[in-house]
Structure formats: structure tokens, C-alpha cells
Symmetry: C2
Subunit: 393 residues, 2 copies
């Protein structure tokens, strides 16, 4: 259902941009879609048109010449008048910073949780993750310009307000810890470019937040306003969504105030080739097949190893990693590849991958014990079952 709709002013989504037809659409309004997995790992940097789209609301139409970012100041500063920055101000008053960052939706791989027991949420496959080179200015520089220092008292959180809103005027919002926002090491960005182009409409034109290593939901798009506060964002998405729970918590017993808002994400990996149910043909000469995938971890933890099993987890081979060289914290995924020999007798095999990050965090073996009612944070081993075709000579 992704054919073009005629313009309809009673439809708040009528201003949404057109999208690449190859995307797998999980929801048309708001638009949510992921690239086909085999295309996702063709490039270390995901092309903008293929980058997964995760919108909570209609895409707002923003005139870049009139756009102003509003940054609330600390109490008492400049009579409480907010700092207002045009796009030109942002591009000329602050130094430019670029960083390669993988973003992942908390719901990536939700469909595997859904298969065990129904969850509430879009039925994402393993494609709600992508990588881009982002350019913009450092959030810490903008906060400093508004009068904040690392020692400003009574501030714990930086709230972001989007310009996307529902019919009642409620805007998208989220927050991150102030310490995180001010950290030089964490490279939090107000980005106006994605892979050398101005931000596409679906990705937050003209300005979005990039919080490296942190769940997609805090990387607020169409950024309109920044508020520094003692409190987290009061938005639905910060308070009553994007949190993890014990598998036995259901909608009758859930207490959203009992769990922390998801920020840094755990270690993750997935197989992108072959695809589930595929008939694979080992090379005639050496009996090998190529297995490909991605691996990533939050919090700046680099992927240090990916293990792949062809026998249901009994034995494991180490995959080759393809990535960027970077000192310090690492925000981008690794693509991985393994040329694997299929045991001659096997007709049906299950391929499994698991990744290890620089804190030696491991992925859990199975989905059921981490199942949760919102279907977030699925980072269990990824399993793909295929049939092996054999030459009959």
C-alpha cells in the first residue's frame, strides 16, 4: 500500500514526501518503513533513500528561511528570553562537526517477539537500523551559547521538542541526560546534513538531533525547541513508551514509572544474507556459501567480534568485520561476512549470529526471556533457516 495518494487537505499526511518504492512499509500514516535486508548491507553508509524511516506523526512542512531553533536559557539569564537561532546562525556561529552514526529503532526485530506472543507496535523486521554520515554543530556548543555550563545547578535533562504534531497540537518530544548532552566524548549533534545532502524531509528537515549510541526515539527530528530541566521530557514517548519490562508484565500490570527510559542500546547483530527460507547453493568447488550481516552496540561500544554458527549453536566461526577506523567511542556498526563450508550431509540448516562489543557484552540466546509487551529491545541471537540445494553429480 505505497502508491501515491492525491493531495487531500483534510489528511494531515498529505504533505508527506514520496518514498523509494523498494522500502517495506510497516505503516503508511505515519510513515514507517525499512529497506530490504540484502540491500541494507550492500554499503557501510546507507543511502538516504534506503535509510529506515520511523515517523510518529505527519511530516511537518518547514520553510528553512523562516526556521528558528528556540533554546530556553538558564533561569535569570537575559530576562529569560530564549536564544533563537536561524539555520544560517547555526551554520556560521558554531564550528561544524561530522560523525558517522548508526541509528536503531527500539522496535528493530520486533516481529520475532510478535511471533512468540502478540506485542503492541509496528511489526519491524531486522531493517530498522541504518548508518549515515551526519554533519551539523555540537549540542554542547549551542547549550554553552545559551548560557549553560557543566556546573549549571539543578539541570539533569535536555528536552527536545519536534515541530511534528498531532491534530490536537501535541508535539513529539524526548530527552537525554544533561551530562550526556554536555559530554565532549559523546558528540551529540544538531544535524542539518545527512550523507552530504541537506536533511531529507523524512529525516527531520531542516534540523534534527543525533545522539550517537542512543535509541532512535531520542534523536528528535524537525527539532524546534530545546529545554534544559530537572525533569525528563513529559512526552508520551519518554514516559509511557520506549521502556523495557519483565516478560511476565502485561497491559493490566504494567507500571511505566518503574522502568528507565531507553537511552543507550545493548549489543545487536543480524543476518542479512541468506534470507529465511531461501534455497542456497554452495559453491561447486569448495562447498562454501557467503553469509552477511551487521552488528552494532550502543554507548560507543565498538563491535569486537561476530560469531556465526551453522549447526544451531554447537560450534562457532569468527566472521570478518568491515568498518570504519575510529579512536575513542565508536558510533557506527560493523558489517560482517563469512565464507562458510556447509557440512556435506546437511539439507536444512539454521544459521545463527551473535556479536560481542568492547565491554564484552553478549547477546542473549533466545527471544522469549526478553519478550516484553511493547516488543522493544530484541537483541537475541538472530536465526535464519535455509534449505541447501546440492548438485546431484
Amino acid at each position: 500500500d505505497d502508491k501515491e495518494e492525491p493531495l487531500d487537505f483534510s489528511d494531515p499526511y498529505s504533505g508527506d514526501p514520496s518514498r523509494h518504492p523498494v522500502l517495506k512499509v510497516n505503516s503508511q500514516k505515519p510513515f514507517n518503513a525499512e529497506p530490504p535486508l540484502e540491500m541494507l548491507t550492500e554499503n557501510f553508509i546507507t543511502p538516504n533513500v534506503l535509510f529506515f524511516k520511523r515517523n510518529h506523526l505527519p511530516v511537518p512542512n518547514i520553510n528553512p528561511d523562516e526556521f528558528q531553533l528556540i533554546v530556553e536559557r538558564p533561569p535569570g539569564a537575559k530576562q529569560g528570553k530564549p536564544l533563537k537561532l536561524s539555520l544560517k546562525d547555526l551554520k556560521t556561529k558554531f564550528s561544524r562537526h561530522e560523525v558517522t552514526v548508526t541509528l536503531q529503532c527500539a522496535g528493530n526485530r520486533r516481529s520475532e517477539m510478535n511471533a512468540i506472543k502478540t506485542v503492541k507496535g509496528l511489526d519491524w523486521g531486522a531493517g530498522a537500523i541504518s548508518t549515515a554520515r551526519w554533519a551539523g554543530v555540537r549540542l554542547r556548543d549551542v547549550l554553552s551559547d545559551a548560557g549553560y555550563t557543566e556546573n549549571t545547578p539543578n539541570v539533569q535533562h535536555v528536552q527536545f521538542e519536534g515541530l511534528d504534531q498531532d491534530v490536537t497540537g501535541t508535539k513529539y518530544g524526548a530527552s537525554i541526560p544533561f551530562r550526556h548532552a554536555m559530554s565532549k566524548d559523546h558528540e551529540v549533534l544538531l544535524a542539518f546534513e545527512m550523507n552530504g545532502e541537506e536533511l531529507p524531509k523524512d529525516h527531520g528537515f531542516p534540523l534534527r538531533v543525533i545522539v550517537p549510541g542512543v535509541v532512535g526515539a531520542r534523536n528528535v527530528k524537525w527539532l524546534g525547541r530545546i529545554i534544559v530541566s530537572e525533569e525528563e521530557s513529559s512526552s508520551h514517548w519518554q514516559q509511557n513508551d520506549y521502556k523495557g519490562f519483565n516478560p511476565n508484565v502485561d497491559w493490566d500490570t504494567v507500571d511505566f514509572s518503574s522502568a528507565p527510559a531507553i537511552q543507550e542500546l545493548p549489543v545487536q547483530s543480524a543476518i542479512t544474507e541468506p534470507r529465511p527460507g531461501e534455497i542456497i547453493t554452495p559453491d561447486e568447488d569448495d562447498g562454501k556459501v557467503t553469509i552477511k550481516g551487521y552488528a552494532w552496540s550502543g554507548g560507543g561500544r565498538e563491535i569486537v567480534r561476530v560469531d556465526v554458527s551453522l549447526d544451531g549453536g554447537k560450534t562457532w566461526k569468527v566472521a570478518d568485520l568491515i568498518g570504519e577506523e575510529k579512536k575513542g567511542l565508536v558510533w557506527a556498526w560493523k558489517l560482517w561476512q563469512l565464507e562458510a563450508t556447509i557440512p556435506a550431509e546437511d539439507k536444512e540448516i539454521t544459521i545463527i549470529c551473535k556479536a560481542i562489543d568492547s565491554s564484552y557484552n553478549m547477546q542473549p540466546d533466545t527471544v522469549a526471556p526478553i519478550w516484553n509487551l511493547r516488543g522493544v529491545l530484541n537483541n537475541a541471537w538472530h536465526r535464519v533457516s535455509v534449505t541447501v540445494a546440492r548438485d546431484q553429480h
Copy 2:
């Protein structure tokens, strides 16, 4: 085998201190021992005599009045003469800092790996982890005094040299990243006090490094010398030990240069009560038993939840957490407790625990897929099987 030995000058271990008889000794020379698990979780702060002991070499005899910490300076500074600091210098020239930190040996819970397939290393149970309140001075302040800044060029690692040595004069050594050492958030300490007492001999008297959130092996005891370098420590323990590998890597194929040195540790938890094989008696009135344990994660990630299962992982209850309130990064464990109802029909049950940290990292389900030849980093779900005794009325 922990009775007192007569003083023997041909024995390099003859100067070792006496130890509490309740400790379970894994190795007498060097001394390695852990507390009984049920005593470990009696207190949030582990008493010094019960704190696990992990020595690689004989305990050195150091005269505190003659002790000098040597800190090498950046090239060119003060004709290359090192900074020398007496204990009094450390206590008077720098501001005091205190922090509650849980230390864990990389080999904690190695015995569960050993049970699957033999590993090389001391056969630790789940007691190679303890918590203390450490006092000392910030490493970053001492490095600043020696002339280093965050922008000093060509420095990547801070190497620590112990005063403990083997018969050939080889000293214990380890290193941490320079960025980590200089970070205000990471609170790396040169500690001279442990739980309000001067450091016990077994814990590094008179001075040791405390690297919150990082594997025990980098918390160098009997610290004698600090070297800032482009390179990691060249010691055996940094280069050819304390690294994780794929379960199919054996001693014929292992390449220690292929894996990163363990620094920040992954999420961990264990059951301390009841003990394996114990016969437990549910409360006559409500059929409940008390289950206790600890949970901790490296890298300053706070434990946010502990799940406990009494049915082999099919259903999970949330345990109560007991801990310290702390803003920002969290270095101490949580103790946990659950009053659990034993299903009336069950005679044998397996209790399982798993913890979740603030990055929503999860523990892997099973040990075999994370098995490695050195038996480090076992953080699989902890399982304890017990027999249920029933009143026959």
C-alpha cells in the same frame, strides 16, 4: 590448606599476611580466595577480611615511610625527571575523593565454564566479586600534576606497574586508556583507604589503583610507577591473558593479539541463597522462600532490574533491589531479594537469575556459547538447583 606456615626466607610467599579462615582458598601461593556466597550478600559493603583476594604474585613488604610513587612526565618536561610522591604528598597535595566501587575478577564463575570443558585458570565460584568504599586521590589530578592535559599529544594509555614481582624481577602490570584515566566522570582513584581503614596488605598497601567499572586486573595493587604511553602495558596480563575468545578457539589456534584486553565488564548476576543442592523449606503459612543474590554491570551502568525464575526460565518475577543512591555513572552492585512462592507440587526446582543494566544489556542464557579457553567473562544466567522439603501434614 590455609593453616599458618612457619616463616621461611627461601619462600617468596613467607611475607604474606594471615587471612580469615572462612575464605575458600583457590590457590595458596599466590593467595587467591573468595568468601562463602551466603556471607557475601549479608552486607552491601563487603568487610575487608571477606573481600575476595586475587594476587598474581607474592605480597610485597612495603615501608610506608619510604614509599614513593613514581609518575613519568611527558617528554621534555622537567628534563624528563619523574614526579615522585610520598604517601604524605598524596594525602596533602591533592583533594581526597571517595567512591563505592564493586570489583570483579574476570574469572568470577569460571567453575561453571570448567564444568563444561576444562579451562586454564583458578577455579573461582561466584564469589570473586566484592564491594568497598575506597578513598584516595583522583588519578587525573596526579597526572595533571605530572604535566599531562587532555590534549597532550601521542598518549593513548596509562600503564600501572605494581611493586609485586616474581623471582626474575618481573613486576605485575596493566593499563587503561588515557581518555578513561583523565575522565572526570569515571572517577579513577589512587586509593590508600578501604572501608575507612588503611589498605590491607592483600589489597595493595599502601597504594592501589581503583578503576570503577573495569575488570579487577586493571586495578593494580602495590602501585609503584605510572607511565603514560602510546602503547598498552606490555605485561603478560595485558597482552596474553584477560581477553575473550570464540568458544572454538583452543590453545593451538589462539592469537592473543586478535582480541582487545578486557576493560569494562558486561552485566552480571548470581544467586547466593539458597546454595546448590540445599534442601529448602518453604514457610509453613505462605509457602514462600527467600532467594538472595547480587547483580552488577561494568562501565558505570546501573542495574535496573533482576528477573528470577523458579521454573527453568518459563516465567520470571522481578526481585527487590537494595543499593546506594547515586547520580551519573554507578559503580556499585545491587543486592537483590525475592520472597517467592514455590508451586505446591514441585520437589526439585532450578532457580535462575538474570540482570538488566541501564543500557538494557541482558545476560546470555547459557554458558557453552560464551565458553573460552581462559574461562573469563562468564555472565550467563546463574542457575541453582535445590530440593524442596515439605511438611507432611
